[in-house]
Structures are given as structure tokens and as C-alpha cells.
Point group: C2
């Protein structure tokens, strides 16, 4: 992975016992990874933690200090195990209470007499946070400092991400090209591929095997923010694959 | 999440730029989560890190210190970006070299003249590690201390996990039951569900919404290692759902 000092970097924190138990299979990590990559933000780290306050607070504080942005998913519903907002407030050392703006959003969906204590939990927002509207079920996410707090339900997370995206700082877009090595075994090209990677320090070179009915199928992926450097590395790798496939 | 001092706990570390770029969507986390839950091991934390030595070493050392077991996936192939074995050796402060047992395994698949330097990378095993055979493509995983190093290709990871499983310490199996709340809104039951959770401290109570064509469908999941405690909590929740659905 190439690094540069002015890169825009990010971490994702997935919050929820249900992911760690296997009951729910996460779909948000891949969605966020694709989204950030497309706009030139380098996703550098992902963590999944349970619905335990100490674990959430620790992860929020570590990850927000390390990266330009931290995106969290999960734990902002109305039930007792939805503790993300309180944990983010604790991580930032700020107060948290029912936010009139968030309460107004909930009233777009719920009658005033249905806005019970549980539902009002979804309007608890840390002091100083901006809201992220939720066009689907109204209960908002929020952002405070460099932390964006989103829902865990994939459709709602996606809707929130679409709103956050335009306001994010963007790095140079990461360019990527794939060279199909097909059935050419990794072991036949790995040595020389490493030499090519060594000659192109501004290019990340990866080899990715996958298994199919007919055996391994391999792909080599080159990634760089510099189109000329990318093209030069790609040309060398294409020549290598052609030579070894002949 | 309930905790107990004699619980067997685990972390998973997924290693690979391709997951963080979104190019490859991880399937191993969910597989391992299901596997561990079924044998009474609590998966407490997951991290995804890039192919960067410092990030891998740091995560290995943090996670192996915190949990009974650490399972890693990815980065044990023949190419230059496969650096997991070297990083694990560094984390443990031990040497690493071509292991004769691992070399013999590779010779089951490759002719001696095809065992080039790149392929021999797959036989580099930290000093003192035990091997995890790979019935599919022969290049082994390994375990050292409480760390199990597995391949990233899902079929191979699964085959390695199947071999590791019988040797793992097991906790009491986590029992789980699901109460279908269907279209009953979370906000109508969240308050009383929280009260029930408070009365059953040995039971983890979660509410999980999902979106369907017809709106939210909610499920309440109770989890405990104590069957009687689980049954008592479940009965109260079933009564609550029945009352509110009437």
C-alpha cells in the first residue's frame, strides 16, 4: 500500500453483537470501502466491536485520532442495546440529551403521543454534533468532529453515506487496473512480480487468487494515484504475463 | 453482551489491501463468527488492516494479548505483498525461515524444480509454530502461541478452520432463541424490552430491524449460556410481543 502524507484516510467502526455472533452478516464494510475508494479516500482500518461501552469508546478514540475520518455503523436505534450515541459523547467528553432538531425529524414519522421514551432515545445527540438526515425512517445519524455516526440497516446507512459524501475532503482518486493472469499459477510469476513492484514504489501491486471449479484463477491489480506510473507498471506486468503464458 | 471470567474469547484479524479498497468483499468474518459461536467461543473483536507490516504487527500483539485466541486470514501466498508470516514472527520476536515440514507439503503439489523462491515463501514459518495442513493447495497455515494464521481464500480458510476446531478450548455453548416481532415497531416495545433485559442480567437481549418491501421487520434475539435464564427471558418477551400485537 502506498502512503503519502497528504492522503485523506478513514477508518470504519462496526458496532454490534449480532455481527460478532454471526447472526447478521455485515454488508456495510464493503459498501463504505467502495464508496471511499471511488472518491479518493483511503480506508486504512476497520474494527468490529460488541455493544459494550468501554470497547466502543476506546475504538472511537483510537480511530478518530489516527485518521482523517471515522465512520461508524450500528447502535443508534431505540432499544437498550443502542448505545452508540452515548459512547460517542463519552469519547468526546461532551454532554448528550434529546436534540430538538432530531425530535422534529422523528415527528415527521411519529405522532407526538407515540414519541415515547424509547423513541426519544433516537433523538439523543451529543452536544455540538450536526445531524445526518435519514430519508427512510427519519431517526438521524450525526457527525461530531471527524466522526460520522450512521445506522446499521444497510439501506439507511447507504442513504446517510450519500448525504455525507459531498461534504468530505477528497484525495486524488486512486486509479486501479486489473491484469488477468487467469490460470497462470501465482508461484510462476510471484518472484518477478515482486521485482516489478520494487521498481515502481508509487504503485501498489497485488495478486489475488480465487478458486473456481477449474482451479485457481488469479488477478493482478495495480493501484496508484499517478496515471503514468500506473501505466508503466501495468505494461511490465502485462508483458510478464504474456511471456509466461506463451 | 454478557461476560464471564472463564469465557473462551477470540479476535479475528483480516489482512489485505483488497478488502479495504472494496475490491474483494470479505466472506471469512461471517464464517468464523458462525463457527466460533457454535462451539462456545465468544468472538469479541474483528479488525481489518492493510498489507503494512507495522499495522499487522501492532494488531497481532494487541489482539493476542486480549483474547484466548486470535485467528488471522490472508497474506500467506507467494507474492511480495504476502507478509503475514514475517509479521507474526516479528510480533512474537522469533526467527522465521523455510520450514522442512512445510516444504515437504509444497512438494506434494509442486515438482522440486518448480519450487522456486516465490513458492518457498509459502514454506516460511516462524520458529516454534505448528503447521495447519491445507488439503486444497498444500501451502500450510500455522499456529504459534494462541495465534492461528490461515489463508484468505474462503475455501482454504474453511478447510483450515475445520482442522483447527477440534483442538480449541470450548466455552459453554451460547444458546440463542429468536422471537419474531414482525412489523411491530421497535419503538413500541423498546422501553419494556429494556426493562426485561434489566431483570435478566445473564441474558443478552438484542432487537434487530431489517428492511423489507413492506417496511421494517423486527426480530428480538435472546442469548445466554444458561437455558433456564434464557427460557425465562424469552417467555417475558413473547408475552410482551403478544400483548402489543393484539
Amino acid at each position: 500500500m502506498s502512503t503519502d502524507s497528504d492522503a485523506v484516510t478513514a477508518a470504519v467502526l462496526v458496532i454490534g453483537d449480532e455481527i460478532l455472533s454471526g447472526r447478521t452478516k455485515d454488508k456495510n464494510i464493503g459498501t463504505i470501502a467502495d464508496y471511499l475508494t471511488a472518491i479518493g479516500i483511503d480506508l486504512r482500518e476497520v474494527r468490529i466491536v460488541p455493544d459494550v461501552a468501554e470497547a466502543i469508546v476506546e475504538a472511537v478514540n483510537q480511530l478518530r485520532a489516527r485518521h482523517t475520518y471515522l465512520f461508524t455503523t450500528g447502535g443508534i436505534g431505540p432499544t437498550h442495546d443502542d448505545i452508540t450515541a452515548d459512547c460517542v459523547a463519552e469519547a468526546f467528553g461532551v454532554g448528550i440529551d434529546v436534540d430538538p432538531r432530531a425530535r422534529a425529524m422523528l415527528l415527521e414519522r411519529h405522532k407526538p403521543e407515540d414519541l415515547n421514551a424509547a423513541r426519544l432515545r433516537m433523538a439523543r445527540i451529543p452536544d455540538g454534533a450536526a445531524l445526518i438526515p435519514n430519508p427512510i425512517s427519519k431517526a438521524p445519524g450525526f457527525h461530531i468532529g471527524n466522526v460520522f455516526v450512521m445506522a446499521g440497516v444497510p439501506a439507511i446507512m447507504q442513504a446517510m453515506l450519500d448525504q455525507i459524501g459531498p461534504g468530505l475532503a477528497r484525495g486524488a482518486a486512486m486509479l486501479s487496473e486489473t491484469i488477468e493472469a487467469r490460470g497462470l499459477p501465482e508461484g510462476t510469476y510471484a518472484g518477478r512480480l515482486g521485482e516489478i513492484a520494487g521498481r515502481h514504489p508509487g504503485v501498489s501491486v497485488g495478486s489475488y487468487p480465487s478458486m473456481t471449479q477449474t482451479g485457481f484463477q488469479n488477478r493482478i491489480v495495480v493501484r496508484s494515484k499517478d496515471a503514468a506510473a500506473l501505466g508503466a507498471a501495468r505494461a511490465e506486468i502485462e508483458a510478464l504475463v504474456a511471456e509466461l503464458s506463451a
